[in-house]
Assembly symmetry: C2
Homo-oligomer: 581 residues x 2
């Protein structure tokens, strides 16, 4: 059962007893608030066996309860079974909020503790408000003391990438960052998001699953960059490259908190990411000189974050790297499609297909690894947008219906994210029409022309419109940003129904992935990668469009041609021709 330890909760209660605490709140995050949490921080799994990505566990002296959202209800019920931990289904009528439940179960002077390393400052203050009159206390991570065999943090070798991959030196990025911040007074730009730091310093690593990231923190100030990482994992060449590119301090990863406590009194603190742990927030504010004419900390001046926005806009070298990655990856995907067609009905499973993708990708010397776990979903399995292949191998691929493959890779020069449908035979009319409706959404959004400054949500209907006309909908976003050999899900831009004030800008790389899901029957998603590109035709100054860079063909055999207009047909045929070049 993985990290789960049936004695963990009693050990935690012992510690709580020693500290006179009555309850502890344990979130599912880590100090960097990234998408993938290292095993070291999977405290919830150790305590109760729950492996979902989002949940909050509360342990009191006699009860324990886990709050999670509807994505994880079934999984959580199974994993909590027999552990004595109660499942609290969020947003289901009758479920108390975590704060209400704690207030109902505690006295006003009871002590509730929260790990200062795992709660962001904003989540901590929100919890303080919600729990009033009970006041929670921040405590040091107690798990090191009680979690025998706790997985250590992983620090693998870190490499420096040259301008032939990054397109811009770290020094140039540092200088642009300072110009953008334009702070008239001394400042400390405090960076805790690992992909922001990797981008700024042109470093790549393998410390986080599916992400080409080294574990690191950084502080940028008027003099340069202070980097906190595992020094032993940096080659001499990397250190030399950093040193000639604005690095002023190189310290151990663990020294970040102590360094924050020594920030000059009169510098303005800027927290680069929306998320910083309570521990680091208070460390950085520990020493603030109360000069009322200078605010002690200010929000990042750029919507979505200055570095996040700089990183989201790719330069031409990065864009070319993405294009090259799409060509190499497109070839691997095309071969997998052919292999599936040949072998469907011979006993191959979803897992075999995933392994075959990996096998073909590995033939490229530039392949670094998957950018997320491949989704290979046959038939009704594809109706679950986030299906994951079971350990046992998953469904056998038959000669009927549709197979969905959603897969991505990191190459030395770029990252990919592609979903392709393989029609295997005997599709129903509903499947064909859904296939075409989703394809029409992909095409319409891909063909869009829009003024610079357009927010992603304004384009979302282009992808969904035809699905809606069929009385269907998909609940996930239409598009996410893609990092350059960093994280496959990257902000701050997006195309989804929810309001996001960040405008699409030339150079941004995004997925385009409409879908439709019919429970118990089929799921369809077509996904390409696009780059936002200025329109160059005379008279279209100030407008942008999407350049589609994915190079895996889309099977047109199921298409209901009457649902596409001439320009749409022309677009998809031209796209497929590009894929076969």
């Amino acid at each position: 059962m993985g990290l789960y330890d049936a004695d963990a909760i009693s050990r935690l209660r012992e510690i709580l007893g020693q500290e006179d605490a009555s309850a502890m709140i344990v979130p599912s995050s880590d100090p960097h608030f990234g998408e993938y949490v290292p095993d070291h921080y999977k405290c919830i799994e150790w305590l109760c066996g729950f492996t979902g990505e989002a949940g909050t566990l509360v342990v009191t002296m006699d009860r324990a309860a886990l709050w999670t959202d509807s994505r994880f209800f079934i999984q959580a019920a199974a994993e909590l079974d027999g552990t004595g931990v109660e499942l609290m289904r969020q947003n289901v009528p009758g479920t108390p909020s975590l704060a209400q439940w704690l207030k109902d179960n505690l006295a006003e002077d009871d002590i509730v503790v929260m790990d200062e390393d795992l709660f962001s400052y904003s989540d901590y203050t929100a919890m303080v408000d919600a729990l009033a009159p009970v006041t929670p206390s921040l405590v040091e991570d107690p798990f090191d003391r009680i979690w025998k065999d706790r997985p250590a943090l992983v620090f693998n070798p870190v490499r420096h990438i040259g301008v032939e991959i990054s397109g811009e030196t770290s020094m140039s990025k540092y200088e642009r960052l300072c110009r953008t911040l334009a702070m008239p007074v001394p400042f400390a730009y405090i960076m805790t998001a690992m992909d922001d730091i990797a981008w700024l310093c042109n470093l790549r690593g393998t410390d986080v699953e599916y992400n080409a990231l080294p574990m690191a923190y950084a502080v940028v100030d008027n003099r340069g960059i202070a980097l906190f990482a595992r020094q032993a994992m940096l080659s001499e060449e990397a250190v030399a490259a950093l040193t000639s590119n604005g690095l002023t301090e190189l310290r151990e990863y663990e020294e970040f908190g102590r360094y924050l406590q020594t920030l000059p009194k009169d510098c303005v603190r800027i927290f680069a990411s929306g998320k910083v742990t309570a521990k680091y927030f208070f460390a950085a504010m520990d020493n603030v000189y109360n000069n009322p004419s200078i605010p002690s900390h200010v929000p990042d001046p750029v919507t979505g974050g200055t570095v996040a926005m700089m990183k989201a806009v790719k330069n031409e070298v990065e864009a070319d790297g993405f294009r090259k990655a799409c060509v190499v990856d497109g070839r691997a995907i095309s071969r997998v499609i052919a292999w599936v067609r040949e072998n469907a009905g011979t006993g191959i499973t979803e897992k075999d297909v995933a392994l075959k993708i990996e096998e073909y990708r590995k033939e490229s010397a530039d392949y670094l690894g998957e950018s997320f776990p491949s989704i290979v979903a046959y038939g009704a399995n594809a109706a679950l947008p986030h299906y994951s292949i079971p350990e046992s191998g998953g469904a056998e691929i038959g000669r009927d219906g549709l197979l969905l493959i959603d897969t991505g890779a990191h190459y030395a020069y770029g990252t990919t994210d592609t979903t392709r449908m393989i029609p295997l035979g005997n599709l129903t009319q509903e499947e064909k029409d859904d296939y075409t409706a989703v394809l029409k959404g992909l095409i319409r959004l891909s063909m869009a022309v829009f003024p610079q400054g357009t927010r992603g949500c304004l384009l979302d209907i282009l992808a969904r419109g035809e699905v809606y006309r069929r009385g269907k909908r998909y609940l996930h976003g239409t598009s996410h940003g893609i990092g350059h050999v960093l994280c496959v899900h990257e902000g701050p831009q997006s195309i989804r129904m929810e309001e996001n004030p960040v405008a699409l800008a030339d150079g941004m790389v995004l997925s385009v992935e409409p879908g439709v899901y019919v429970e118990g029957s089929h799921g369809i998603r077509h996904e390409n990668t696009v780059i936002v590109t200025p329109c160059t035709d005379a008279g279209s100054e100030g407008f942008s469009r999407f350049e589609t860079i994915t190079r895996a063909p889309i099977d047109l055999s199921p298409v209901n041609a009457s649902m596409l207009d001439d320009s749409e047909k022309e677009w998809i045929e031209s796209f497929n021709r590009c894929c076969s070049l």
Copy 2:
């Protein structure tokens, strides 16, 4: 020059001197914050001659300056010429903000006064923040004392409309309002928006230009409705109808402030509209009992306002009234189109066309008046989206190019808002393609299917997409709500690029009006009225679509057919067939 009085500013300065004040800030609003301001409140025009709808005038003892936005730069420069009032072009680099300018021109202990009747509470508090350390003071309207011949407020007869027009009694609306508010404690729902009050009480009037509104205030509480209006203008029948429909108090319009001061201490104040004057806000809060367990005032619990939202969702009787109004008005517009075709090139002017529309409309006994001043714009005049016909009559309509007519009316049962293009001859290819691009936008948005709960901004690109593909754009909204014999521009819903959290709901009536404007050449806008309607096809539960109710045909002779797909052609042909039934 209308209301302008060259001595007005010196008279205001005399009063300021008597009060030891150094400056006064005068906004362009009135106490109801509606779209059309009665002459009584056109203090800016009286002081400096500026007739634009948006501006703020500051008068100090030796200077005076008017802040206005780019829509009014040319007009303001002309109107202020020779008055000694400086023009401050908002959002132009180098223009100081009003607050900065005042701070630069005043000492810290100088007194700045603001009319408590003309500033909303929120604008007042924002001004207090912006002017710090200078503190502005609210004063009673000083203009009555110094403005000789100040136009009086207009109070015309007020009529009560029956359920055959409104579809719902005032009592039923009152009861629904109380249920929606669901206040567990005594409350006072304070209403200052005249159209909200007219809707709730089923009253209509003619006190405001182009709006079928009586001047009124109201307070709704647990017992019923207190109405503040000119009692002499209410017929006995109207009073009887009100009294049998929840009216508990009927008082003079001017007694509203005094009534607010006598609200029960322990009731919760809810300000129904986002805008309430500083005077009425403080009057309502004057007497608040400080019971910390009951908040003294709470925001309106419904996004956009409870009554505004109830009013925006039309019942079937209202919807039928809109449909009938569209049929009657469509006939008048069709006749005008024919008349223009016959008489173009014979010396008829834009003004003649506007008068002809009025003439044809008056043939209907149910016609109440225009819902806004007709825009009749020939050729390049149409490139100004808010062109108004000059007193002199405007351009002569020739036999070439395009004529734009944007016009609306109130009938006893409904309100219309329609824009039609009349192609007169010899159109350029650019005009034809622009005409088709705008038409395609109209059709695409009109054909949209969308899930209940969709925000208007998510559909906006459907109207703009084809205009964008031509490297062009329009800066106005795509759609506004339309009131039922109230105001032609009605919230809270909209379809525009800006985020608006209000979702489209079945029963809402909206315009659909994409456009394109080429300076010095031509302007094109096609505008229909639509009702949000549930989809009734099997399998489309939870989705809505638009029912287009306008019944004036769209001329297809300029259409570039290659720009429309089959379903779009089918839609517009079917629409035109409906218009000729």
